[in-house]
Symmetry: C2
Amino acid sequence: MSHYRLNYLQQIRDRGYRLTPQRALILDALCSLNGHATANQVYELIEAQAPAINRATVYRTLAFFCQLQMVSESQMNGATVYEIIQERPHHHLVCRLCGDVSLLEDHHLAELSQQLTQAHGFTADLNHLTISGICAGCQSGVGE
Amino acid sequence: MSHYRLNYLQQIRDRGYRLTPQRALILDALCSLNGHATANQVYELIEAQAPAINRATVYRTLAFFCQLQMVSESQMNGATVYEIIQERPHHHLVCRLCGDVSLLEDHHLAELSQQLTQAHGFTADLNHLTISGICAGCQSGVGE
DNA sequence: TTTGTTTTAGCAAATTTTTGCAATAACAAT
DNA sequence: ATTGTTATTGCAAAAATTTGCTAAAACAAA
Ligand SMILES: [Mn+2]
Ligand SMILES: [Mn+2]
Ligand SMILES: [Zn+2]
Ligand SMILES: [Zn+2]
């Protein structure tokens, strides 16, 4: 779950930006938190280790990584969560009733992605989609 | 573009909630704003007409309508926008470079929706999806 | 109508997120 | 190593959003 094999630190510089300790700390934190972390969780984890980072920096840096497509931002049960984008994308189904978050393999979106290219010339990001709805359990009445 | 033919006002009561003037005003505002309106736009429009609604009420009521699936909430170029859900769903492609928002017809999602049911027993909401990516214009270098 | 019950709205405060600006520090060039 | 340039950070303030609590009002039942 490390971001190091993705060479994101190097990529930051290659893309013309500066590699700061804060940026490295935030990528590290996202990795330790292992996906779907809130800005506040990132802040608190870093704060616990090296008590010298500003909340504004966390927010700005997360936005920066999203723009660079190194991190995804998604809404999950009300919270805004961040996750490192790995080389193989994955997605989620989120149940509106019980809050359950399940995995959706990327291949389910291949067809759609293709259609968007063909019909609209649009290259979809589709790094980490979350689709809301009602899960199997809640439909069969188990979730009640 | 009126919500009246959707009988949302009646539905509020039928589903066991109370029909308040604030709720009606917010649905009306969403209609006049004609889709993709921010909470603040809703607030300001109502404020201009009947200067007696609280911001907290706007936020809470928009969340309430989302829960009831009468209104959709989406992220569009940084802003959180709301739109009345009509009987026929529609979606959007949002360009990450130029910000262009284009229409995506619902039939493009039929295949995916079906797969989610088959493979996961999941009933996706798919009322108003927004997919981020790069539009045709920006790819051909027009958007630069 | 009037009354009683319970949901909803308003208000004020708390919390979260964004922003402007000056100081700092990355990095390229000497 | 030192220096200069410019992106990035921290800080403080502003703006946006959420929350707890009380008063108001919607609605059901008399
Ligand atoms: Mn994920
Ligand atoms: Mn729309
Ligand atoms: Zn569920
Ligand atoms: Zn574009």
